[in-house]
Symmetry: C2
Subunit: 248 residues, 2 copies
């Protein structure tokens, strides 16, 4: 009898063409499924809460799979981690009921985007932050971010290529955090769901405000336009981290 | 007329065969000298405070060079950084007197060694920490480290292959730091000079104590033996950072 497992996964997306399996590309799904099949000797399809794009990282991606054996969760975790490359780690394995589904059971998600706005960035973070060599106006960004919080049609903040039934989403929280111990600026956003490239377009737009290219209120007009061309550029993938996925 | 410049340099040593220029190997010295000569059109030899080994990092390596032009220090810094790969940055350029010499004028240095003693390490730090999957006994390590502070003959903590006139050195400070905000354990050591692999052998020895393989006092016997075989293993290079070099 198979049982359903919930996996919490961290990965450094630098060397991967995103989550989803694709021919002739190194993907996270394939890498993790290969580790499982090397361990069990059979195919173990792994479904994630959502795809992450090429170069995007995760500290708390969630996936589910049906597992054929009765090994304890801790044993499964160790066996799979042993077979994974060092840029992917299973942080947690839990038994869940058979109606758990990593995509459809998800109720909200949190992403983080890392920026470093100093002339010379931290070289040890260069693969994980968007380096902008001049200080940003954080107060303007915070003011601008305020307009995005709540239930809105985010059509302006959606890349072409992955149409959904509706582009209405609810952002519960959108914080711009400057920690005293680090030169990094963190953009943290929690929503009931995200459109394709939504966090990266929000981030690119807020950076335009932080650079003084646009006033804070501009983002409200961009939102109202429901047109991708009205918002700012798409921030690069390397600064983006999927932090957490919530389930009922 | 040439002038002497003091350079403060950070580098991620992962992709380099150490500081010193060697045939058919990618080194930091060659990379930085190439950036200078691409900028000036002439050879600019760069001398560092000391070689760092293959895979060792720096946050405050110091080097000196004679520079042929009268560009301001800030312009030189920007021009060289523009020509360097992203894993090397010149953090500071200063004019110094012509008797300044990066090696012989150095009076003390500080190194940091990073350890992570948890089962699953931070994947984003995997190239910069020595991962030990079980918690170390930090109190025992602190007690043991105490024996090494002061003026001693560190012959037991010196790798073969780079003999010096004397193996007597003074360790001014040797701290083992567990920060609350991070799962990392930092070993910070300041001395008037270091023998070949000295920090890595000290670290490997203290980790043996932290694992309970040896009691804290053992390190005092290792020191007294003046024999490399009496000390512990050499910690891997990836956790080591040259942090600071002091000059009179």
């Amino acid at each position: 009898m198979t049982r359903r497992l919930k996996l919490t996964i961290a990965y450094d997306g630098t060397e991967y063409s995103g989550w989803q399996r694709q021919p002739n590309k190194r993907t996270l799904q394939e890498t993790i499924e290969d580790a499982f099949s090397d361990y069990t000797g059979e195919a173990v399809p792994v479904v994630a809460s959502g795809r992450t794009d090429a170069g995007v990282h995760a500290l708390g991606q969630v996936a589910s799979c049906d597992f054929p054996w009765n090994h304890s969760a801790a044993v499964v975790q160790r066996a799979v981690n042993f077979r994974l490359p060092l840029d992917v780690r299973i942080l947690c394995v839990e038994d869940v009921s058979s109606d758990f589904h990593a995509i459809s059971s998800a109720t909200k998600k949190r992403y983080r985007y890392q920026i470093e706005d100093v002339e010379i960035g931290d070289i040890f973070q260069r693969k994980y932050v968007w380096h902008i060599p001049k200080a940003l106006d954080v107060d303007a960004m915070v003011e601008s971010a305020h307009y995005l919080v709540g239930r809105h049609d985010f059509a302006s903040f959606q890349a072409a290529g992955a149409p959904r039934m509706t582009s209405v989403r609810t952002i519960y929280k959108l914080d711009i955090i400057r920690r005293e111990t680090s030169p990094r600026l963190l953009l943290e956003v929690t929503a009931d769901g995200f459109l394709y490239n939504m966090v990266r377009i929000i981030c690119g737009s807020l950076v335009d405000v932080g650079k003084g290219k646009e006033p804070p209120r501009w983002i409200d007009h961009a939102l109202a336009a429901k047109d991708r061309a009205a918002a700012g550029p798409t921030a690069p993938s390397l600064g983006l981290f999927l932090m957490q996925v919530w389930y009922e």
